[in-house]
């Protein structure tokens, strides 16, 4: 396969790679399904009827466009101008539904009748269960046993929506293991099932497909900033990175705008040197997991290390290959945010703006005080989700002073 340069050096190339990262490292049993997807996804999603249905549902069902909210008190505190892209106001409470809606419409056109998904925080599981209910499709969600315990409200929502939630009992019983189980399920059910991956991870074409479905985030930011500020490009875009789908969506239309600084927040856990962390770019090196070559937390012998984060949605030992490439080329800057910094930032946003963010999202907010801005800078934070699912964790967190 030859390599041709498409739009941008930050977009996926025709061979499925972003620079050194990406590809499709899958056993043969998954090849026909992934290959079918690869051959058809661009054609299907550029089809006018697909776009009409997708756009209408994004508008009427999901509630898009989401507001771009000028956070005045937070701006004053940081002495700059901060906008929050309110993905938390989407139906189901996070950005995840942008992707699940796109993928289920695609699955229908591929003639699939059953859907499987993995989930960490349960947001992707809920977003998948929701669109399955909407389309009348059977839904199975794999979720690590540890996550089932710490994200109970979302487990109940999935069940209410008619999905079957299957605990992943292997390994660390978190997102990585749920992904393993979903992939095994797909191997065993190759005919009628589509696997809706929840982030910009997995074998090509998943990272690109998910990034395209999430790119509506930055598309709207551009329009909204133009109206509000008279310019399309902010100075900074901040987002948290688990697999990196909300970040990919928030960065997408700014990738080739060098004046826009892209900032990614990874989960530092108890600290990058504590042995309990999920800060992939700090602790990882090039490796292969879940079908793509990326930066991966692993032992010297190539065994995947079990990560730690207080936030289930960031508790993953890798990042999407697009982010590995953004890191490698220094197009994006990465910060490791500790559990404690995130929990403080979540509390701060609740008290200052009346918005309780998901703990995942709080990692992006926690980057704010670590950077230096000019008062006239425009900073956009992707507020990827709301914190309802995290109330138990917030309430039991040993804040030093609250």
């Amino acid at each position: 396969m030859g390599r041709t340069t498409t739009l941008s050096q930050f977009q996926v190339q025709t061979d499925g790679y972003y620079g050194k990262f990406g590809g499709a490292y899958i056993p043969e049993m998954l090849f026909p399904n992934v290959e079918e997807l690869r051959q058809q996804y661009l054609q299907i999603i550029s089809d006018a009827a697909f776009q009409a249905e997708f756009q209408q549902l994004l508008h009427d069902y999901v509630g898009r466009p989401t507001p771009l909210y000028f956070a005045k008190r937070l701006s004053d505190l940081n002495n700059t101008r901060i906008y929050l892209k309110r993905e938390d106001l989407n139906h189901t409470g996070a950005h995840k539904i942008n992707n699940t809606l796109g993928q289920i419409l695609l699955a229908k056109r591929l003639g699939k009748s059953k859907i499987i998904a993995e989930t960490g925080a349960g947001q992707h599981g809920v977003a998948t269960a929701t669109v399955c209910a909407l389309m009348g499709m059977e839904c199975i969600v794999y979720m690590g046993k540890v996550d089932i315990e710490r994200q109970k409200p979302n487990v109940e929502r999935m069940k209410m929506l008619g999905a079957q939630v299957v605990p992943a009992l292997s390994g660390s019983q978190t997102l990585k293991d749920a992904t393993n189980e979903a992939m095994r399920h797909w191997i065993n059910h190759p005919h009628d099932t589509h696997y809706i991956i929840g982030s910009v991870v997995g074998p090509h074409p998943y990272p690109d497909m998910v990034a395209r479905f999430q790119s509506v985030i930055s598309e709207e930011i551009k329009h909204q900033l133009l109206t509000k500020e008279g310019r399309e490009n902010p100075d900074y875009v901040l987002a948290c990175v688990g697999g990196g789908s909300n970040a990919a969506g928030a960065f997408y239309h700014f990738l080739d705008e060098p004046s826009v600084q892209l900032i990614a927040a990874e989960a530092g856990g108890l600290g990058v040197n504590s042995g309990k962390s999920a800060a992939t770019t700090v602790l990882g090196k090039t490796g292969v997991l879940h079908g793509s070559k990326t930066i991966l937390m692993q032992t010297e012998d190539g065994q995947v290390v079990e990560p730690h984060s207080i936030s289930a949605g960031l508790d993953y030992p890798g990042i999407g290959p697009i982010h590995a490439h953004l890191y490698d080329t220094q197009r994006a800057q990465f910060y490791a945010i500790t559990d404690d910094e995130a929990m403080q930032a979540g509390l701060l946003l609740s008290r200052m703006e009346g918005i309780i963010p998901a703990i995942e999202t709080a990692h992006a907010l926690a980057v704010l005080p670590k950077m230096q801005y000019k008062p006239e800078d425009l900073v956009v934070i992707c507020l990827s989700g709301r914190g309802d699912k995290d109330l138990a964790t917030y309430m039991s967190y040993p804040y030093e002073s609250a």
């Binding site: 396969m1 490292y25 043969e28 026909p32 390994g171 991966l296 012998d301 995947v304």
Partner: protein, 258 residues
């Protein structure tokens, strides 16, 4: 032309091959080579040594667990090569190393092939290695080090791709009996027989072995009617997992299949 114990086996042996998969370092760290010796004594024909991985997505519970135990026992690729130093003084069966790509990448691709050749194994099976990568980076190493690379074919693999795999292979083709993870034991159904027939009619240049779901004498013998051999993994792992006398358990297991 690759010429090793594996390619010679299929040229010289009239009976269908019994290929057994074992996980390196399982049940205990130092069982790897004694298991090879017992398999040889018991009459197995080919051995696949699994290099354990933390996230074996193509494997069912039995092999997942054997991987986990082996890793807890401290098995690594480096340790495996140390264990295999000199094993050819005792074991003459064709031996392949099978494993997911990430540990091999960390070991170093060329270093891995070099050391595999040094200890005199005959081939590799890397189920999540893409064909294009293989052609570009691994095929020249296979030739340089005289190692066979074996690829999987599933019931959904289309004809063009099977032909391409056949072209790239010198050893055998691994026919996955049904689209499944390892260790499913539903027996061999009519649908699978159609698929084996379809492949047989393609008249591939390589011999074929059927694997996944081969668990007992009946499924082994049925599979051998349609291919040059069959591969048993999970059933063997189960048979040795709790064994107090490995050579005896292995003898009993192998004799039960013939």
């Amino acid at each position: 032309m690759i010429d090793n114990r594996l390619t010679r086996f299929f040229k010289q042996t009239p009976h269908p091959a019994l290929t057994v998969y074992c996980t390196a370092g399982f049940p205990t760290l130092h069982d790897t080579v004694p298991i090879l010796e017992s398999l040889q004594t018991a009459g197995a024909d080919i051995v696949e040594i699994g290099m354990p991985f933390s996230d074996p997505i193509a494997d069912g519970e039995v092999i997942q667990q054997s991987n986990q135990v082996a890793l807890q026992n401290g098995m690594t690729i480096k340790t495996l090569f140390e264990q295999l130093q000199g094993f050819r003084q005792k074991v003459h069966l064709p031996v392949l190393l099978m494993g997911y790509i990430n540990p091999v990448l960390q070991y170093g691709i060329e270093r891995f092939f070099e050391h595999a050749a040094e200890v005199e194994v005959d081939g590799v099976i890397l189920p999540d290695l893409p064909l294009a990568e293989y052609e570009r980076e691994y095929l020249p190493l296979c030739r340089k080090y005289n190692l066979s690379a074996v690829f999987l074919v599933s019931p959904q693999t289309d004809e063009t791709r099977i032909r391409k795999i056949d072209d790239l292979t010198e050893g055998f083709i691994y026919l996955v009996s049904s689209s499944s993870t390892t260790g499913k034991t539903q027996g061999i159904q009519a649908e699978q027989i159609n698929y084996f027939e379809r492949i047989r009619q393609m008249q591939l240049k390589n011999p074929k072995q059927i694997g996944f779901g081969i668990a007992d004498k009946a499924s082994f013998q049925t599979a051998c009617q349609y291919a040059e051999g069959a591969i048993i993994g999970s059933a063997f792992i189960k048979a040795i997992a709790q064994s107090a006398d490995l050579p005896a358990s292995i003898r009993q297991f192998v004799q039960g299949l013939r």
